[in-house]
Symmetry: C2
Subunit: 208 residues, 2 copies
């Protein structure tokens, strides 16, 4: 999914501990800006993944226009399902990218983000997951969930809303992936077979 | 979803009784070719929706390259989930379209086509659908189902396979819709509320 990163200016939205930022520099990126809403995570990033060409900034995605900078590549790993104003952030990303700039992101799959309560799975008597209890896929918006702490807010959008929002902002869709385990992975982690019922993630690469 | 059809050459894949073909002519299309695998349906089309500028041809979608003709618009309504070689047909459509030609189609939503047996829904004690029993979404390929007759073969593809196949053939994605009922429709047909659990259809408009 990642294009050649050599000599590129990269913006990482929701960079967390900065592992990806460091990797981009190791792969030849000219400059990397990592933003995250968690100052605690950025402290770790500055300690463990620092580099003269990486800047870590404590900032919510909704404010990136304030960076007032141009980039060649914008990446984001598993953060967009926490963003309420997807449309606004995508528009800002489009503005901040140079011509032919690439935006690559992953988020929870819409088959996950739609979950609005109750048991996510139906299991057989042995506890095996036999199907996903899918409801409210067409009802977009806020969902409350538990992720380390209670009341983490996520936002559900359908596949078509995600695609159309990117297109409306001026992007062209280049690739979409819903990762599934290979046979080798399944041999090592047999529980991953449940991903064939519901892929956990969605990856998209789009171009300005 | 439909572009201006005036003076355009239109190909309708799986035209059935030809209602759409006739409508295209009424909207100013220069020429319409409707193909269908069912000669019985085409007989009705020729009787009820004929026009000097419509040609109805009994032909499976997999053979359209044999038409050896160029079109401005290719449309298809609820037929692609019966097509095994989606990739091949999409490539043929791309070849048959003039520059900037438009391909618009609907098919069953992947949340429907993945169904591989058993109860599709879990219901409460009153019979209301409370969630879709979603399984095998990530397992693509043939499904057997009942539609008027037994053993109708359908083919399941994930959202990402559909999108990537179109892109790989050279199309750019313009719009994707998973139709949901409006409040007015819901008032008239309350059962359509179940579409918020699982949209029945998927529509895509792509451009050469």
């Amino acid at each position: 999914m990642l294009p050649d990163i050599k000599n590129k200016r990269v913006l990482d939205l929701g960079c967390g501990f900065g592992e990806h930022c460091k990797r981009f520099i190791d792969c030849g990126a000219k400059k990397v800006v990592g933003i995250d809403i968690s100052e605690k995570m950025l402290e770790v990033a500055r300690n463990e993944n620092s580099d003269p060409n990486i800047i870590y900034i404590n900032m919510p995605m909704e404010k990136i226009a304030e960076l007032n900078e141009q980039f060649d590549i914008v990446v984001s790993s598993l953060a967009f399902h926490y963003v309420e104003d997807f449309e606004g952030v995508v528009r800002d990303i489009h503005n901040m990218l140079d011509t032919e700039g690439i935006f690559i992101f992953s988020q929870e799959n819409p088959l996950c983000t739609c979950h609005s309560g109750g048991n996510r799975w139906t299991r057989d008597e042995l506890g095996n997951k036999i199907h996903l209890n899918l409801a409210d896929y067409g009802i977009e918006g806020e969902r409350e969930s538990v992720w380390f702490v209670n009341n983490v807010k996520k936002y559900h959008r359908t596949f078509s809303t995600i695609i159309n929002t990117l297109i409306n902002a001026g992007f062209s869709i280049e690739r979409m992936i819903e990762p599934l385990p290979t046979d080798e992975i399944l041999e090592q982690y047999p529980d991953y077979k449940d991903l064939f019922h519901k892929p956990d993630f969605l990856l998209l690469r789009v171009k300005k």
